[in-house]
Symmetry: C2
Amino acid sequence: MSEVFLYLCIVTGVTAVVHWRFPTPSSRHVVPQSSYEYETAYFTQPIDHFGFNAQVGEFRQRYLLSLKYWKPGKPVFLYTGNEGDITWFCNNTGFMWDIAPEFEAMLIFAEHRYYGDSLPFGSDSYATAGNLQYMTTEQALADFALLIEHIKSTLPGAENSPVIAFGGSYGGMLAAWLRMKYPNVVGAIAASAPIWMFDDLSPCDGFNKIASRDYRSTPGGEQCFENIRGFWAALNRTAEQEHGMFVVSLLFELCDDILDVNVLIDWFTAIFGNLAMVNYPYPTSFLEPLPAWPVSVACSYLNESRLYGEDLLNAVKKVVNLYFNYTGELTCFNSSLQGPSSFDVRGWDYQACTEMVMPICSRYESSVFPPSRWNLYGYVQDCERRWMNATVRPDWAVTFYGGKDISSHSNIVFSNGDLDPWSFGGVLTNLSHTLTAVIIEGGAHHLDLRAAHPADPQSVIDVRNVEKAHIRMWIEA
Amino acid sequence: MSEVFLYLCIVTGVTAVVHWRFPTPSSRHVVPQSSYEYETAYFTQPIDHFGFNAQVGEFRQRYLLSLKYWKPGKPVFLYTGNEGDITWFCNNTGFMWDIAPEFEAMLIFAEHRYYGDSLPFGSDSYATAGNLQYMTTEQALADFALLIEHIKSTLPGAENSPVIAFGGSYGGMLAAWLRMKYPNVVGAIAASAPIWMFDDLSPCDGFNKIASRDYRSTPGGEQCFENIRGFWAALNRTAEQEHGMFVVSLLFELCDDILDVNVLIDWFTAIFGNLAMVNYPYPTSFLEPLPAWPVSVACSYLNESRLYGEDLLNAVKKVVNLYFNYTGELTCFNSSLQGPSSFDVRGWDYQACTEMVMPICSRYESSVFPPSRWNLYGYVQDCERRWMNATVRPDWAVTFYGGKDISSHSNIVFSNGDLDPWSFGGVLTNLSHTLTAVIIEGGAHHLDLRAAHPADPQSVIDVRNVEKAHIRMWIEA
């Protein structure tokens, strides 16, 4: 699943790698039962859209199709799959299912190449630098564009159907980019799409600033904020003692023996960050099963003034338990769950190491996380080591997708939740009358794409209405 | 240089391949002396912009740079090089040089990869399917986009310079596409750019219809038209006689022994087609040294009513002499000059066989050329045979560049001469208030890009003024 890697200058002066994740499920996550009905289909794609060497071959892209609500000539709603199994995105994008009946829309959820069941070279897809050569956003967009052509040319009545792209997070970036690059898509709903998180387009401390604000703005948040800030030093102090890492492992009930405290710092950082991303107003199982407003719940363990030592570690232990064990099934915690061990994590790691390089840092004065600086040089070295000397090109996405210079494009709604740490890299103000930015007050990571819920704040209801109005406009144009 | 291959159903029923060329110089063409001053520079590009496999490597792209008229902050005029040596395009695009002073513009002429001195794998660039894998329009556009970034980031005062793309013929297609795909170019002058010549976007007999009209509309043109139409049968009749091909070779003073009359039919077809393309109102050396209005001169040999037999062949011989030997240096004619023998021809052949597949046919009732049908199946077979089984994808360019569905783009002037056979595949009417079409009455292939000339018709002067007005608008926006 998706991760942003950042170099962390922790208080001990050691540099560690922290993995940020877009909110995607852990390997033990079970796709929830849903009432959504679709068929699973496959479309044969060239592995290389941008070359004509027949030796490169073809692969089968998976997509999910629902014609339940569709009438000939009526729109196609295409979800531009992100970094994971497409069934999971299909089941977690209730907004498309909710509005399909009123638009009489066809629903397509297209899987991203190199994820899920859409592996260009099967189980060897990640085995060699040559096999990984076609794992790029450009190739993924071309897959979507060709799939649209396929549907339009083979499904009677679809030939003139307007196509709207939908996506959240990385999928939202792809939805926006698909509209920019391929005008056979008439418009895009790009939810929580940090398209400006590259190079120097956004300040690198934005993610951590917003996440920190999320903690600070809960009831008792000021104490919560200070306690988490104090936690990193407390953790280090304990770890530095004789048998310190043993004590830490015992205290946090880790399944595995961790010798490097930096690995744990990554792990805790990811937990606090992920809680901020999925801080939804009702219980969800988006990343892990969680209660409503999980950041507030986490802070309820940390709102005593100035916790110290073991008390502080025990309070954070409760947060870990909240995040990983809300349903109470685990007997120990696996700190490698954040690492690039499972297949999907691997895919995003490659992307983040080549094209999707997102600078993230943390400043002491504003952040709930340990201070860190963005160290491109170290980042590149680490990526080259992990990925067979892959060429890291941090500014290529800016060149190819235009950076902030995108006002000549049209028909995109960029939505962002003001609680979502990823919003720092998103489009937050209108760029033109057809490039529209909407903010979901009290909204976390692409709340608008979720199915309607009784606990939805009015803001997300309003934003969904704005999105529907734009879709209607694009269709009727 | 560039060629479109078409399958020709000649009157004998035999199918042959005819090579159409965009007007580019023959191998014996000498780049004319010019007063244009520029420096030659090189920029290191990734061979594969759309992949991150370090094993693929880098190459040096050549570009020509003139800062003579440029003031910091003022525009960059970028010529998007087509299928050949960039010095030739630089010296034949006088319009950019003419208007650079008033815009205080920097001039860059960027060479297209796999042509001229910009060979990704040196002399092996065409040797293997793997080496040819990066010979695509998408890679070429990415070269241009990255070169722009390079200039902007390294040349003090260029950082905020607006960039205008210029191109003619295939280069005009690239200029338009660069604007569509990369908004770091604020606008494009796409001269004689047949961006709609793919798949079924334009009728396949357009090229031949316009070329035929060119011959028909000269003084005595009706006779000229009928005589050329009669020529194909006369040629076949002579060839079919005993030792017929020997007689033909002798009559046309060929240097080489040609056994297949279809090869000669290709050759004559190309000569008549090329004359129509470069039918300029003053003497030029664009493709071959030619007098003013070469189609009229050719028709002056063919305007007697109903020429037959040897008289007809002798009249066409004068056309061959006009086209290849206007300066009177040759002692015999090389009919392989139209074939893929020289390096640049090879490059375009690969492109036409993979991505740039342009259907061309000829109908008996309207065409000065022998009737032919578009035979995609045979085309693909022939291309696969010639190019190591390269994958021919005739509709990919339509998917990637949007076909006729491009009205969401902006800031492109499409210019076409009404004498130019390639205009059949061009944009001839405004698509929006920022996608403008202009027609040069009495103009051949991208006459507007040539330097101003006393014999210029008012129409081309007007069109150049429209282009300048748009450039000014884009710069000031």
